[in-house]
Each structure stands twice: as C-alpha cells, then as structure tokens.
C-alpha cells in the first residue's frame, strides 16, 4: 500500500480489514518524520505513545470490536490543542514545559474515532503571526521552497501534510491560520462555522474567532475528519447544538444551478497576477460543471482587517493574562534574584517568556479595552462586525457559495515581512472577514505560481452550510487535482 498518497478512508479501510496494521501505518509516518523533518521543522513534539495507541487499535480490531471511521489514521495536531500527558507549548517559552492533565475535546473525539496522534506541530507563538516565524522552536520551512514561509500559524500542520509526514492534520483558524498555510502548501483546509467544533482544551487566542479544523489531501478526507471533530460539547458553551451531517457521503456530482458569488471588492488590481490567474481558472472550471458566477458586493470588507486586529488583540490580551507564572508555565529565577514586589514577579515572568509579536498584541489589546478607549475601539469594532455579518447574510440571498482568493499573493520569503507587521497583517484581508462573520471557509488547492509555489482559492458559505463548500471543493479537486502534486525531494 502506497501510504504517502493514500486517502484517510482507504487507510482506515485497510486497517479495519487487516490489510495493514495500525502499527505499520504509524511506523511508516514516524520513519518519514525522522527522515525529513530535520529540514522542515514541522513537529515540535512527538507522541511517545503513538505506537502503543496504534497497537491498541489493532487489538480492538483483532477482538472484533467496532472502531471508528479514522481507525489507525495518524494525525498531526497543532501544538495549540492540549494533549493529556503530551507537552503542549503554543510554541511559547511561557508554556515550554507544560504537560496538560487533559485533552482538548477535538483530540478526544479524533481518538474515539480511531485516530492516532503522531505528534504536535509548530505554529507561530500562540498562533500570532502571519509567517510562522515567531515560534520558539524556530521557523517552519515551506516544503515547496525552503526559503519561503508556509505562512500563518498552522504552518507546521500544513507542512507536515505537504511533506507527507502525516495523512491528516489539525489546525486552528482565528483569522486564516488554516486556510492560508493550506493555500501556500497545496493542501485542503477548512475552518468550520463558529460553534461547529468545540474549543475546549484549545489554547485560546481570540475566543470569538477561534475554530479548529482539519487539513488533508482531499475534499473527502477533510469532510471525514470534520465529521469526527464536530458536535455540541457540554464543556464549551459556544459550541452549537446542531446536527452533524455526513458531508463526505453527500457530495454532489455536478454543480448545476449553483450560484458562485464573486465579491467585486476582492478582485482588485492589487492582486498578485499569479493569484488572479489561478482564481479565474477556478471560476472557469466551476462554470464548466454548471455553476453560475454572480457578482456580489461586500463594501464593509475593507474594514475587516481593522476590526479583526481590534477584536483579536483585545480578546488575546485578556486570554493571555492567565500566563503569570503562578500556577504553571515559565517562572523567572527568583531564588537567585528575588522580586521586590508582586508587580516585578508578573513583569519578569511575562516579560522574559513572551515573544515580541505576542507582547505587541497584548499591548494593542490592552489599549483597545482601556477605559476611555473601549467605546471608540472594541465596542465600535463589535458594531461593525455585526454589520459585516449582516452584509454576508444578504449576499447569500444572491448566491450559495462565495469564492475569493485566500491571500493577496503566494508565499513570501522568510524574513521578508517580519520587520513590517502592518504589511503582514494586510495579507489577512480575505480570510479574517470569514472569522468575523462566523462563517465556514475553506482553502482548496487549484494551481501554482510561476515559481512553482501552490495557490488555493477560498470558498465560503452560510453558517453551518459546510456541505456546499465541500461540493464546490470536490468539483475543483476533480478539475485540477492540484492536491496530488508532491513537492520535489519528498
């Protein structure tokens, strides 16, 4: 069995029918990590019990017990999801040695479906960054070109997939962190509707925006993973009590009559020519299978990045207050150099352990929530956010799915933008509005830049209408097969 290019469902099927053991599958990918990850740097921790967990799946199958849809499927998990007994760091010095006594609900659900956690993948510190360069474990390299960034915080998960170090990966997306690296790495990645997936046990960045989602090599793989991850969780008050459909089994054969909304604001001249070309190719391919392009307008989208950075930093400044060195995490050396007072205790713990980008966002958020500024910043941003959501819902009266670029350009060079945060933030313009409106959004690989770097398109649908997204994704997959191409040297 050629494991590197096998779909999740075929791996699970082979394991269930004992054509291959879960231990063999896990061993295969562990060996690949050992062989290739030194140069990519996508994993920050490996699960020492991975083979043991795989063996227990095999044992259950041997005993005739029923195992889930992900039987023996190895999964790479972003190091922002807590894993019981396995170090979870958010790639920050402040959690460098943190071993959670609990697992995120998503991890529990994946395991219940038979998945095996291979290890934890790298991210920007606390998922804050647009280039995957702020991790304490060093930057992750783009498998397609080691001098380029994989972009955005779930970069480790995307690269592990692209390099075929795992057949499935879990990311989180606050402003595009699943979709952007998926696009830059030539894989599929979906941020589900806000509330579709439990946030319990996922280290919070911006609570009203964060969602976990799957990344994989095909539409169906993404759908199967999301089916396993979704559902109401009594530990997360914001998770939705809504049925989880079998998306993977309900994919449409054609797109006759399906209206594809194209927001005119998203197709400006500022768009990179490669991105513009690939997006047009995607539209043409969808037309060919019966879809109808419809021009729509989302005038408020131009405020999305501003609103996003006010809301995300405000919530982050609050969510990161718990990292104080009192109960867990990094603590300065007070034995050698005692603190004069409580203020110094906090200042040193936090000052020594948070990186520059995290500090910048805590400062921005603290300012935006301050007395006298709250009304003008956080509250105003919330009001515009509601208007933006309404605007999207109105647009969905004219179309079924919205299609747009994922980013303004393909992957950029490592170090190219780290010195100019504002320019880097602007790269989030197409993805952040989806999080602000709570909508599902997916990045689907379609083509390549002249330099050979992957480029995807973004698909968005109404709340809880992931099915339409998967339908369109499947059509693009059939037309371009862009996810099947493997980077050189892999």
């Amino acid at each position: 069995m050629e494991l590197n290019t096998s779909s999740i469902t075929s791996i699970a099927e082979a394991v269930k029918t004992k054509k291959i053991s879960a231990v063999e599958v896990t061993s295969h990918f562990l060996a690949r990590i050992d062989q290739h990850d030194k140069k990519i740097n996508s994993f920050v921790s490996l699960n020492a019990r991975a083979l043991e967990e795989a063996a227990s799946i095999d044992k259950r199958i041997a005993a005739g017990e029923s195992v889930g849809a992900l039987a023996g499927v190895p999964v790479a998990v972003k190091d922002l999801l807590c894993t019981e007994g396995l170090r979870t760091t958010a790639c920050s010095k402040i959690l460098e040695n943190f071993v959670p006594p609990y697992s995120a609900t998503v991890v529990e659900k994946l395991r219940a479906a038979g998945a095996v956690v291979l290890g934890k993948t790298s991210l920007d510190e606390f998922a804050m960054g647009s280039s995957n360069e702020t991790s304490i474990f060093g930057s992750v390299k783009n498998t397609w070109n080691l001098y380029y960034v994989p972009v955005v915080s779930s970069g480790g998960s995307a690269e592990a997939l692209a390099a075929r170090l795992a057949p499935a990966a879990i990311g989180t997306d606050t402003g595009g962190s699943i979709r952007q690296p998926a696009s830059f790495c030539g894989v599929y990645g979906i941020k589900p509707t806000y509330g579709r997936v439990s946030r319990y046990g996922i280290i919070a960045f911006a609570s009203s925006l964060d969602q976990a989602g799957p990344m994989a090599h095909s539409t169906e793989d993404c759908a199967v993973l999301l089916e396993a991850m979704s559902g109401k969780d009594r530990l997360d008050a914001t998770s939705a009590s809504i049925e989880v459909p079998s998306w993977s089994k309900s994919l449409r054969k054609d797109l006759k009559g399906l209206r594809i909304g194209l927001p005119k604001e998203y197709f400006s001249e500022a768009l990179d020519p490669d991105v513009a070309r690939v997006t047009q190719e995607a539209i043409a391919a969808l037309k060919a299978v019966g879809a109808e392009p419809v021009e729509i307008s989302l005038p408020l989208v131009k405020y999305a990045v501003s609103i996003y950075y006010l809301i995300a930093t405000s919530e982050a400044s609050s969510n990161l207050a718990r990292y104080d060195g009192v109960r867990f995490g990094y603590r300065s050396n007070f034995d050698e150099n005692p603190a004069a007072d409580l203020g110094e205790f906090y200042a040193r713990n936090r000052g020594e352990a948070f990186g520059a980008e995290v500090k910048r966002r805590i400062m921005l958020g603290t300012y935006a929530l301050s007395s006298g500024y709250y009304d003008a910043y956080y509250q105003k941003a919330g009001q515009v956010r509601r208007l933006l959501r309404d605007e999207f819902l109105q647009a969905f009266e004219k179309c079924d799915v919205i299609l747009s670029p994922v980013t303004t350009s393909p992957a950029f060079k490592l170090g190219e933008r780290i010195s100019n945060p504002l320019e880097m933030y602007l790269n989030d313009i197409f993805t952040t509005s989806t999080n602000l409106a709570g909508l599902p959004g997916m990045s689907v690989p379609v083509g390549f830049s002249k330099l050979g770097l992957p480029i995807g398109v973004q698909l968005m649908a109404k709340h809880f209408d992931e099915q339409r997204i998967f339908d369109v994704s499947k059509a693009l997959e059939t037309a371009f097969k862009a996810g099947e191409k493997v980077p050189n040297g892999i």
Partner: protein
C-alpha cells in the same frame, strides 16, 4: 460644629455566596471546608484552553433572590470579564456582570426599632469568587477551592443614614437569603460579605461627600461599629480641614478603627468587556413567572401576617420570623394548638432556651411542634396547669415522649375537684392560725403564702384558679 451638623450617606454591597453544589462555571464542588486545593479541576485553575459553562442552579438562585428583593429580572444579561492581576485570581480576570446585570431596581423593607424603612436595591449581579491567599512571612500560599464559587453581589442605593440602619439592612438581607435557601448567611465563614460605602456631608447639602469603602467586616455588630467610627473620622477630617481621600479601608475590630488599604491612585482600570466564552443569558418570561410563583413567603410579609391574622404582638412576630425554620415551627404549633399567642410564648422562652443551651437547631428539636401544640391544648383544657406544664415540657425535652402520656404516667393531672382542694385549705388554715389572723386583720400579702402551701399540698396539681377562688372565700370566712 458638632456631630449633629452632619449627615452620613451609606450604601452597602453585599456578596452572597450562592449555595449550589458545584461552582458557577465548572463541575467542581463548591462545598466549604474541603482540604486545600481539593475542589479544583483544570477549569478552576484557569489552565490553557479551559472554558466556563454556566451553572443553571446559580441562575435560579439569583433570579429567586432578585424577585424576593422586588427587582426587575433582565431577560438578557451579559457576563463580562473584570481584569486585574492577583495570584489568587487564576485567569487574570473575574467573570462578572457589568452593564447588563441579571437583577435591577428593587428594594428591601425592614425595621429599625419600630420604624419601617425601605431601601432601594440598585442592582444584583452574578460573578465568580476568587481563591484565597494566605501569607507566611517570605512566602504565600494559594487555595483555589473558593475560586469559581458563585456569588450574587447586591448593591443598595446610597440611601442609609445611620450605622444602625445599615446593620438592620444587612440583617434583613441575611434573613431573606436564608428564607430563600440560597445562602446560609454565615458572615464568619464569608458566605455573606459586606462592603460599606460611607460619606458625610453637612446637613441640607445635596452634593455627596467623598466616598470611602470599608471592606472585611465579618459581623453585624462590626458593620455598625465600623460605620460609626468612619462617620466620626470623616467628620473630624471636615472639622479640621483635612481632605477625605477616596479609598478602600479595612476595619480592625480589636482596635475598633478603620485604616487605609489602598487609595484611588491604585484603582484598577478593569477593562471590562463581554466574555466571548459565554453567550448572553436569555431568560423566558415563563421561567421568571415560575420562579416567582415558587418563592416562599418572605420574613417581613410573614411577620405582618402573624400580627394581622394571628394577633401576635409586633415583637413576637419579628422574633419568630428571624429564621424561617422557627417561623415554620411556630406555624405548625399555632395551627395545631389553636392558640398562637401561647405557642409564641412557649417557643420564645422555654424552647429557645433549651435549643440555645444544647446548641440544637430547631429542625432537630426533641420536642416537635406537634407535641408542643398538644401540651398547650392540655393547658387550655385545664388538664394541667401552666406550672405543671413546665415540668411536662422538661420531660418532653429529655424523653421525647408525648405530653399526654407524661401527664398520665406521672399523675400530673390538675385537681379541679373543689371538695378535695377545700379539704387541703381547711387543714392549712387549721395549722396556721396566726397567718389567718394576719390576713383577716388586713395584711393581704400573706395570701400568697396560703397559695404556696396549697399548691405544695397538692404537689402542684391543684388548679391555681380554683385555689385562688376557694382561698379568698375561706380566708374571708365566707
């Protein structure tokens, strides 16, 4: 200028710990008295990725309290994060309610002496408690058992004018929450905590003076004393021209004074914002109606009823309604005996004394309300005298037997047979000619001596009324 030229303005913030089984945002036990850091889970510790989920019971208790305090219940209330750093605050913020609290615009009625007062309740909001720090020289320890225990913070209007009034307000609040069964009202264990806001101004002035908050008061008596001290201190400041600083002060009961804890310069900017981890709390009118119809009769209403329909004096009604359990006991006894006043007397004297001496809760009283009622009926029917009843009651307390069988076993039935009593009186008069002569010469106070002797001869069983009547007749030689 003197004390009388000023008036005080007092407002109270009372934190009521809601006695739910689990914490407000997690399944951890909220019980008091567990070993240090026993009642904690990753949620209470504020570990990464953990989330709050609202305890329905805490909402129920808050709504009940709000309704009992005549508040409007918000159908849409919002939890907000109140942010500050302190080692016993695990998340770096407290989940509280800010601009949209669950209860608003109510009032509480109570008595100060014989005068009825009505103080407005500005708001009551739900929040989580913090943990507890203890300091030991060069290190401190943190116990997070209390972190996440539900609180309802009840804020009064700045309407009270005397320390007595403030203390009575707090006492009435304790009564209400105990009646509702939402809190045990224990100030010492901190399940009820009271912060007092005090300012003074010259009489007739409309502008409020600078407000000082006094924290950490753990008895009603200390509320009164702390406010009294603080008013005097502020008047002294005014008199000497010293500025009154807006600050938080602590009360030291040993020294009976308040001292500064932190001034407004250290005041936090709490950076409140709606907690994105919790949806707004939306309540249906039907839910609120259901809570309202399930409310018990409140102490002040009950006291009024005891006066109006049971004919009790105001004092008795107030005393009996201090605790719901006592009032419940009284009602059973009054109903079963058909004699509310006698029931009140027995409860307020003999029963209370025995309960206090043995530190027994009325719910565990060896003498049930039903038995007490039976005993009162024996008195009213003339089967036993009030005096014998004391003996019967003592016997009931120790043996838990019913009064009728005690009377029967011990032969305590009252003697009302006039011929038997007449015989006793005749014998006593014969044996005490000197006293008879004394009485007949006009020294009527010797009458008591004859009563005592007759009762003694009857072993207390003679009916005092019959004895009185017969003695008068016989001594006058009728």
């Amino acid at each position: 200028m003197a004390f009388n030229d000023y008036e005080a303005v007092i407002g109270l913030e009372i934190h009521v710990q809601l006695q739910t089984n689990s914490k407000i945002f997690s399944a951890d036990s909220a019980a008091f008295g567990a070993a240090d850091n026993e009642n904690i889970s990753p949620v209470s510790v504020g570990m990464p990725g953990t989330l709050p989920v609202l305890n329905e019971r805490a909402v129920e208790f808050s709504v009940r309290t709000g309704l009992a305090l005549n508040c409007a219940i918000r159908k849409h209330s919002v939890f907000a994060r109140k942010q500050y750093f302190y080692p016993d605050l695990p998340k770096g913020y407290q989940i509280s309610q800010f601009d949209q609290p669950i209860c608003e615009n109510g009032y509480l009625e109570f008595y100060v002496g014989n005068e009825k007062r009505k103080v407005s309740i500005t708001r009551a909001h739900m929040e989580e408690d913090a943990g507890k720090s203890t300091h030991h020289g060069d290190y401190s320890l943190i116990n997070l058992n209390r972190a996440g225990v539900p609180l309802l913070e009840i804020v009064s209007g700045p309407e009270m004018t005397s320390p007595q009034e403030a203390a009575e307000y707090a006492r009435e609040m304790r009564k209400v929450v105990r009646y509702l069964g939402v809190c045990d009202g224990n100030l010492e264990e901190g399940s009820l905590r009271c912060d007092c806001n005090v300012s003074v101004k010259r009489k007739g002035e409309t502008k409020l003076g600078t407000k000082v908050e006094i924290k950490n008061i753990n008895s009603f008596r200390f509320i009164e004393k702390a406010i009294e001290y603080e008013i005097q201190r502020q008047i002294d400041c005014k008199e000497t021209g010293e500025a009154i600083v807006q600050e938080t002060r602590l009360y030291d009961p040993d020294k009976n004074r308040t001292f500064s804890m932190r001034s407004k310069e250290d005041a936090h900017d709490y950076r409140y914002f709606p907690d994105p981890d919790l949806l707004p709390l939306v309540l249906e009118q039907s839910y609120i109606d259901q809570m309202r119809s399930a409310l018990p009769e409140l102490p002040s209403v009950r006291a009024d009823r005891f006066v109006k329909s049971l004919g009790l004096p105001e004092y008795d009604a107030q005393t009996l309604t201090q605790e719901k359990e006592i009032a419940d006991y009284f009602e059973v006894a009054a109903q079963a005996s058909g004699n509310p006043k006698a029931s009140a007397n027995w409860i307020m004297t003999d029963l209370m004394r025995e309960l206090n001496d043995s530190k027994t809760e009325i719910g565990n009283s060896p003498v049930s309300a039903q038995s007490l009622a039976e005993m009162i009926q024996l008195i009213d029917k003339g089967t036993i005298s009030g005096k014998i009843a004391k003996t019967v009651f003592a016997e009931m307390w120790t043996t838990q037997k019913d009064p009728a069988s005690i009377v029967k076993e011990k032969g305590l039935t009252q003697i009302t047979d006039t011929s038997a009593i007449e015989k006793m009186i005749d014998a006593i008069m014969t044996a005490n000619p000197a006293q008879v002569a004394e009485y007949r010469s006009g020294k009527e106070k010797v009458f008591g001596y004859f009563v005592g002797q007759t009762m003694k001869a009857s072993k207390g069983q003679a009916s005092p009324e019959v004895v009185n009547e017969l003695l008068k007749k016989k001594l006058k030689g009728e």
